[in-house]
Symmetry: C2
Subunit: 301 residues, 2 copies
């Protein structure tokens, strides 16, 4: 048999202070056959919760609609405050291709879910990242700028009609941003120095915003308790900007300051393909196929 | 839910010329619930077939017994010839821990299966590799030396009583070697030179038998059609002799001859952990856990 297609979905919901609401949403996800809730966490100061679940397209769609059912009756953004920017009660819904599924399929799913959310809940929906056909509306930060409080004015300006749903915000639930993107890798490199200027310069050298790699976001920080500094990164497309190329570039840039790499660190999850590509690179492996990984072969048999 | 324990089993059977016998054995494996036949291949000049299947301990044990049922009625080593050395109709049966199972559990399984094979089929059984408590009887080549034709004399000499079963060979089926071992990685490194002496010297430097790494078998070959040479290896314990250390040593040894690595090649299957350890090494990743691999997390949830 072939492996089930796996799509990961990581909705961000504007509620992080009332545990009973968060638990009701988690229970709604768990209640969908084929949807597996992997993780959820709430930040009271952000007043926001992040849910991570996975399944095939049908299961993931059903789970998203179940989240809206709960969120729409419990959350009113007119009475919501928190440190994290937000546009809607269900603020952001990304679909991420993991296994046996293409990015195109996730884009199609984002459009399908966006249309249904707009129809069923009268919430305007903006498509983002890979699901957006509009270059000015790919970036989440651009879409969310102005937040819920500025949404009615923003929607009335040219170029900001939603992709689906009404032309004005839902009174209580605002708007939602739904889309498809690659898995994100949170990756830190610690340097054998206490000079934070070195970490900041290296971060500037490798991140897209200041001329570096297309799919790198980076910042330099001090780790004061350890007396060292860190280049902290998000790698937003490990296929096009691979982890080993970022590591080697940081290493070379550090050398010009007489600094070496102490260690690196993957925070949270990493796709197996990103690690396999790293092994292939350093071992100069030619013609490797993912079904040569024993565990993959065993699972697909 | 937790993942099912997965044990791989790769029996070598002394029949590679009669497809109907090979197919009957394959069908017997497929007929065991929970046993997944991943691959089988026959070599007529060796007159030998290799089956690869996987499952939990109970399924793998049932499949091995089903193989004996077929092999015992179809194979008579008194009328068997082939290039490959062999001691028995079912010649070698290794159990390999893959996922959610320890080496100790595979050793226990080897003993359990060995005892049952001896009782049910009156075949003497030698335990080998990790399942052997006797240092002189760990190595398959040592146990198999003398082959079927020399088996009766060998069994009569001191130190060669079998671990289970009768003190003399089974008249038609000889004896079996059953044990537990780590997954084996077949790994080749191609060098940018046509000097086969360089490949042979590097092979000698890295293999255990001539002073190299404990878990490396290696030989140097010419690839005449490509005008290059190859260091061809079996890595028999990737945890204790990791692939990256072997690669880096070959690279350094090649440098003394002014030779560089063209590419490397993994033949067949490789455990994910061997690739992950390689990525961790080169990226200097500290404190990585296998449940940080997205696919593992998804599967275990």
């Amino acid at each position: 048999m072939h492996p089930m297609p796996i799509i990961e979905c990581i909705p961000n919901v504007s509620e992080g202070r009332r545990p009973e609401i968060v638990e009701a949403i988690a229970a709604a996800i768990r209640g969908v056959p084929g949807a597996r809730l992997l993780d959820h966490s709430s930040d009271p100061s952000h007043n926001r919760s992040v849910f991570t679940f996975a399944g095939d397209a049908a299961a993931v769609k059903a789970a998203v609609l179940a989240i809206y059912e709960q969120a729409m009756k419990a959350i009113d953004l007119r009475h919501h405050a928190g440190e994290h920017p937000r546009l809607g009660a269900v603020d952001v819904v990304p679909f991420v291709p993991i296994e046996g599924v293409t990015m195109d399929a996730c884009v199609a799913l984002a459009r399908d879910v966006g249309r249904e959310v707009a129809e069923r809940f009268a919430v305007p929906v903006y498509l983002y990242e890979e699901a957006s056909a509009n270059p000015a509306r790919k970036n989440l930060e651009d879409i969310r700028r102005g937040e819920f409080e500025g949404l009615a004015a923003k929607m009335a300006t040219a170029g900001w009609a939603p992709d689906f749903g009404p032309a004005t915000p839902h009174p209580a639930a605002g708007a939602s941003v739904i889309g498809a993107r690659m898995p994100l890798i949170a990756y830190n490199i610690n340097l054998n120095t206490d000079r934070v200027d070195v970490a900041k310069k290296i971060a500037a050298a490798i991140r897209q915003s200041s001329g570096g790699f297309r799919f790198v976001k980076a910042a330099g920080f001090e780790l004061k308790d350890r007396g060292i500094v860190q280049v902290s990164m998000n790698l937003t497309n490990y296929e096009k900007t691979p982890i080993f190329r970022v590591f080697e570039t940081v290493k070379r840039e550090a050398e010009r300051y007489g600094v070496s790499i102490l260690e690196s660190e993957i925070v949270g999850l990493v796709p197996a393909a990103a690690l396999n590509a790293t092994a292939e690179y350093y071992l100069q492996i030619g013609g490797f196929k993912s079904d040569q990984v024993l565990e993959n072969k065993l699972r697909d048999a």
